[in-house]
């Protein structure tokens, strides 16, 4: 397994991602005030190699859903399936996660952090080092490979986290508001860069965000969720062509799509 994977990390852009399905996910959290229904009968399909957004009001269960897709949280009912097979635990070769708080290890350098998933898998030092440096170069941090996280800016840290996600080289990359802590200019730039990297390393991506502009700009499809208990209100196809450009943001289509999503969220929040 590791051997096969090693070859692939070496030659970027070989995989095209796997498909992922959520089937009738219902989830209850045990809290001090009794059971809390977080998700109710959520079903959707993410086609292999597509970029799918997940938006919805705060607390509607996006992060919980993401943890389930990563095999880090088991749903009370229903199942997550990758290539038709039920996910019952972490599958690092299939599914990677980029968290909001970049969760970089403070005692490791940027390069060591990016290498870490390959190290855990037992990949040779030279191979993983090369893969990590390549990724760091791709996110524009070629000069900062030996810096520790506390020596990097917020935007740089998220770049490292993204590089780590791609270096792990899963079929599916789950991102939970990876740019939430950044200012608007930085997040626009990083979004653009993310598309660029994704273009060279095609994967299935599920991207949670609060920014509707970001969702429309990045995604092929946006899943809009209701307020708690989270349900899928609508799947919106983003019909804009690729590659995406900043000019598209000024188009009528962009505005309409963004407005449609906002309308749905506004309604569900009002209830």
């Amino acid at each position: 397994m590791a051997g096969l994977k090693m070859v692939r990390t070496d030659s970027v852009a070989a995989s095209a991602g796997a498909d992922l399905r959520a089937e009738n996910i219902t989830h209850m959290f045990d809290t001090d005030d009794g059971a809390l229904l977080a998700l109710k009968d959520v079903s959707f399909t993410v086609e292999a190699g597509t970029f799918v957004g997940l938006v919805g009001p705060s607390g509607c269960g996006k992060s919980s859903l993401l943890l389930m897709m990563a095999g880090l949280l088991l749903p009370t009912d229903g199942r997550i399936a990758v290539r038709g097979e039920t996910v019952s635990g972490p599958l690092p070769e299939d599914i990677g996660v980029v968290f909001q708080e970049s969760s970089l290890l403070p005692w490791k350098t940027a390069r060591e952090n990016v290498e870490f998933p390959l190290y855990l898998r037992g990949v040779d030092r030279q191979v993983r080092e090369k893969a990590a440096l390549k990724m760091l170069d791709l996110v524009g941090l070629g000069e900062f490979t030996e810096r520790r996280p506390h020596e990097l800016s917020g935007g740089m840290k998220q770049r490292v986290a993204i590089a780590r996600g791609f270096c792990q080289d899963p079929e599916i990359l789950l991102m939970d508001e990876p740019f939430a802590a950044l200012d608007e200019q930085t997040r626009m730039t990083l979004g653009d860069e993310l598309l660029h990297i994704w273009d060279q390393n095609k994967k299935t991506v599920v991207f949670v965000t609060h920014s509707l502009t970001e969702a429309v700009f990045l995604c092929d499809k946006v899943l809009v969720m209701s307020a708690r208990p989270g349900q899928i209100l609508k799947e919106i196809d983003i019909t804009l062509p690729r590659p995406r450009t900043y000019e598209m943001m000024a188009t009528e289509t962009f505005g309409q799509l963004r407005a449609e999503i906002w309308e749905l969220i506004r309604e569900t929040q009002a209830k």
């Binding site: 972490p90 968290f99 290890l105 403070p106 005692w107 490791k108 855990l120 996280p149 506390h150 792990q168």
Partner: protein, 270 residues
């Protein structure tokens, strides 16, 4: 008098500058203490039974060099074994108690209570079990340092950021990799403070055990000479205990520096 006022201005500021140098100041203080040590008993300011002059202390150390060296060796040997119990055992148990929730909630409070007990009171029990040879002081010293090491390690491991653990799990870390690459490095600052306190406590435990009941070692030598009113020998023994403590302190600093070299300062001082 007149000379000083005439040409002494430069001289004096030179002196003041010299005294402002912390190293010079420290050496000056030390010199004064040593001088007092020598002069006070000789002038009869304190009874020679209470304080032997510095020269007599040094002479006793030189003449009985063999005896002191042998006993210092015994103490160092016992200390090494006791440290193994304290740091190794305390660290391992701390890791276990800190990371396994049911153990933590049941056993950890008990451990902190035991830590509060002055363990000296149970030393007679130790000698009853293990005799007054090396075993009992190794056990006693080890036990003395065991609890602070355990508690510091457990506290460090317990407060590891859950986010790191979740991320590592998603990247496929095994349980062992999780301990080795997340828990230990994250808990390192706390573990190192455990090492510092734990080894100091262990040294105290070993020397105290030797003083209470033993057949060899620096502590034993101090007690024996005290009962015979060999004040100079007592002071030389005390001097060797200071050397012992200094050695430990230095060793811990070396470990700290090496272990912490890959650690950002921000996190280390957390």
């Amino acid at each position: 008098m007149s000379m000083r006022t005439a040409g002494g201005n430069d001289d004096r500021s030179g002196w003041i500058l010299l005294l402002k140098n912390p190293l010079v100041l420290r050496l000056a203080c030390l010199g004064m203490i040593l001088a007092f040590w020598e002069i006070a008993p000789r002038m009869g300011w304190v009874s020679p039974v209470m304080l032997a002059p510095l020269s007599a202390t040094v002479i006793s150390g030189v003449t009985d060099f063999g005896v002191f060296a042998r006993n210092l060796g015994v103490t160092f040997g016992s200390l090494a074994l006791a440290l193994l119990i304290a740091l190794g055992g305390g660290g391992a148990v701390g890791l276990l108690l800190g990371s396994v929730r049911p153990l933590r909630t049941t056993l950890l409070p008990i451990m902190s209570s035991i830590y509060a007990v002055p363990l000296v009171v149970v030393y007679p029990v130790f000698t009853a079990w293990a005799g007054i040879g090396v075993e009992s002081k190794v056990l006693f010293g080890g036990l003395y340092g065991f609890f602070p090491m355990l508690l510091a390690t457990a506290a460090g491991v317990r407060t590891v950021d859950g986010g790191y653990m979740v991320a590592a799990r998603s990247m496929g870390a095994t349980r062992f990799q999780m301990i080795r690459h997340i828990m230990l490095p994250a808990a390192l600052p706390s573990i190192m403070s455990g090492v510092r306190i734990g080894s100091a406590m262990t040294a105290i435990g070993v020397v105290v055990a030797e003083m209470m009941a033993a057949t060899a070692g620096i502590g034993f030598l101090i007690t024996q000479n005290r009962t015979m009113f060999n004040t100079a020998e007592v002071y030389f023994g005390v001097f060797l205990v200071v050397v012992l403590a200094g050695t430990i302190d230095w060793a811990v600093s070396v470990i700290e520096r090496r272990a912490g070299s890959s650690y950002p300062r921000k996190v280390r001082t957390l």
